[in-house]
């Protein structure tokens, strides 16, 4: 579905941000990209809808070489939500902000209207429909930025650092959203420095470092390896605890609730 083949990317100023990346993201998959600042995660993401074209190698999205399609065509199927919400809002009202993409993609007036309603409801933004996007709180802005992409119903949702500056309740909302999108059969790609958040999603994890994908596998397998500190990753607490246990269940705990149940069953509390 999204395929990278030996992708190298050099920015115009000469920085080589990707040094040969090959990977495949399949339908219905949840992939989390982690790794230090400047590793190349955002650069990788910008290749997924053709904003950047590989200097060398090839990226294919649903079988189409990104060099042969416009960003708009690719974005219709791969929706990217960038980290900074303030750097994209411009409309007078929240409603219009959501409508913008729908108009660009040629939705009819009626259908656009329906989708706007659906998004306002799904993201709890109804009370603000006529408010200025700039008057929203950080959490509401983030929700709006996700809503305005989901409105055109892309097959893949890509979230670049969605949890930055979000309180606990908002993170939970984003987590819930990702889970429900997966149930609908969509694929989700998340880049994040928040390993506790990533862990709670039970994703496939790609460790990106120095412009390369250095590890790729299930979260429990990748994050329990020795030496992940080298990539400035701090192991999630629940996994750390699991690894310390002498007698332990087959699978690690992904949520505190699972740990609690296991302890109860063991101790008989």
């Amino acid at each position: 579905m999204i395929e990278f083949e030996g992708v190298r990317y050099v920015y115009p100023n000469g920085v080589e941000a990707l040094k040969g990346v090959s990977l495949r993201i399949g339908e219905g998959e949840l992939v989390a990209m982690v790794g230090p600042n400047g590793a190349g995660k955002t650069t990788l993401i910008k290749h997924m809808n053709g904003l950047l074209k590989p200097t060398e190698g090839r990226v294919r999205v649903f079988g189409v070489d990104t060099r042969k399609a416009s960003v708009a065509e690719l974005s219709r199927r791969v929706g990217i939500v960038f980290q900074n919400s303030d750097r994209q809002l411009f409309s007078e009202t929240v409603e219009e902000e959501i409508r913008f993409g729908l108009e660009n993609f040629g939705f009819s007036k009626e259908e656009a209207g329906e989708r706007v309603e659906e998004m306002l409801e799904r993201f709890g933004l109804e009370p603000y429909r006529h408010a200025s996007p700039f008057s929203l709180s950080g959490g509401e802005k983030k929700r709006l930025c996700i809503a305005l992409v989901l409105a055109w119903d892309p097959d893949v949702l890509v979230l670049d650092e969605p949890t930055v500056g979000q309180d606990w309740a908002n993170k939970e909302r984003i987590r819930g959203l990702i889970e429900s999108l997966l149930k609908e059969g969509k694929s989700v790609v998340v880049s994040s420095h928040d390993l506790e958040f990533v862990w709670s999603l039970r994703p496939r994890v790609l460790v990106v470092s120095g412009g390369r994908v250095v590890m790729d596998g299930r979260a429990e397998e990748v994050l329990s390896r020795d030496g992940i500190e080298e990539f400035r990753l701090l192991r999630p607490r629940l996994l750390e605890l699991y690894m310390l246990l002498k007698k332990k269940p087959r699978r690690p705990f992904f949520e505190v609730g699972e740990l609690e149940e296991w302890v109860k069953a063991e101790v008989g509390g």
């Binding site: 960003v71 708009a72 974005s75 219709r76 994209q88 913008f100 993609f105």
Partner: protein, 241 residues
Amino acid sequence: MIRDVAFGFVYTKKDSLVHRLDARIKLALSAYLIALSLMAGDPFGLLLSAAWIASVALLGKVGRRMGRNLIYATLFSVVIFAVDLLSGYGLVDAAIYAARFEVIVASASAFFLITSPDEFEYVMRWLHLPRDLVFSFVTAVRFVPVLMLDAIQITDSQKSRGLELEKGNPVKRLRSFIPILIPLVIDAVMRSNSLAEAMEVRAYGATDRPTSLYEPKLSRSDWIALALSTVAFSVSTIFIL
């Protein structure tokens, strides 16, 4: 294109003889170059100033950047040349005016390429310009690259929302810049607000006579450079006039 022109006027950090000079000497050097290119009125004078500018650019290792910038300046020179011809100037005169434009752009470019915003600040203070003015100017210059990065990010976001800049009639194209300009302006205002707050927190404006960490003295090579360039300038002036 805009990129090449912009970078022709943005400081490039390099380790070179010219870069290491004291900012005041760079100012003098640039003033000489600009004065020469303004005075030059015949092919010989223009060639002479061009030669001086080229040597400074090469010594400062910024020849390539300046060159790229000048390619675009040439477009304007051609226009100037054509307009001059049409308004009745002779071929030689028109060519001289066009070349003079090129040389002036080159000398301005040379100054900006070798003088960092910090050095601007230092020179402006040394000239005892009002501090708020100095600070505003330097900050503005320093924020140009930052705003350029912001503009790239904003454009990327909007293109990901299906915005197509190269499509439709001219009116539609102009309209499609609204989704980019509004966030850019708002972002710049927010940035400047937080910068102002951060400056105040760090006691900007608490005293009228702030001290400075740097009190540079002119080194021997600075004096040599000053002497050499002054001699070169005087001799060239005599030749040109």
